[in-house]
Homo-oligomer: 162 residues x 2
């Protein structure tokens, strides 16, 4: 009760107004565009799309991941993922190895050139994020990460902490 604000027990709840929420929603929209802009430009050179970026990113993150695992992370159908994976394998950026224990599974790895593409894409994306983090400072970054995590579906949060 430090302050006399109505409906507040010391902490102002003005950050929960519809207007503040609308600003947050628009911030997500505009920021996501910036977030994907740099990789998108690079991908054009290869005539790939965001779907390829996502595949390559998560294979880099978890080398040897199976198709099924990738499917549940990306939240698309196997037909959709397969189309992307097929071109990446045909172009020699991704390697698909039959599982040792379970031969039904395919384990996915980046080749040298696949890793090179992934490096270019993620470096471009990190450059922007790094600039934003630096400008906003570590305290803001903690808040950023905390709110984003709360926005996620529980299932996605599990993948996030995988």
């Amino acid at each position: 009760m430090a302050d006399g604000r109505p409906g507040s027990d010391g902490e102002s709840l003005l950050f929960l107004t519809d207007e503040q929420l609308r600003k947050g929603i628009e911030a997500m929209f505009f920021a996501y565009r910036g977030f994907t802009a740099d990789p998108d430009r690079l991908l054009e050179e290869y005539s790939y799309g965001r779907a390829h970026h996502r595949a390559v990113h998560f294979i880099q993150r978890s080398p040897g991941t199976t198709v099924n695992n990738l499917l549940s992370i990306l939240g698309v159908t196997k037909q959709s993922l397969n189309r992307v994976l097929r071109t990446l394998i045909a172009d020699g950026l991704v390697e698909s190895r039959v599982g040792k224990r379970d031969k039904r599974e395919r384990h996915l790895y980046l080749t040298e050139s696949g890793a090179a593409l992934e490096r270019r894409l993620s470096e471009a994306q990190r450059r922007r994020m790094r600039a934003a983090y630096r400008a906003a400072g570590p305290e803001a970054v903690r808040g950023f990460r905390l709110v984003l995590e709360e926005i996620m579906d529980a299932e996605m949060r599990a993948h996030f902490h995988g």
Copy 2:
């Protein structure tokens, strides 16, 4: 001086490591999925897509906005926007009025049912954002907004503050 800028003091720069940046990148990816999930479900009922949601949102925000203005906010081609706008107008959710001063311009307004749809969509989206904000707290929300704003392109930032 304790603002996380390099060389300013003994502040740790660990929040700028590639690993931290990767976590931020994935957080954006997973959170954006959650961010759009609720409206997406509602839109299915109307057999509309995200493009319709965006149009309706920004018309609600700025009633009477012109097509050209909407175009620069959304960052798509007029053909792409027009397709969406045409269906919304045909379905009686959006009204297009010829400009008074400049009769070439069309000013866009939501009809009653358009406003009703917008309310359903934004209420669903706000519900999730409100829960996230509440869980994370006001300090985190400030950081969230600050970092998102830094991620935006300068041009988008202008629209954001419009």
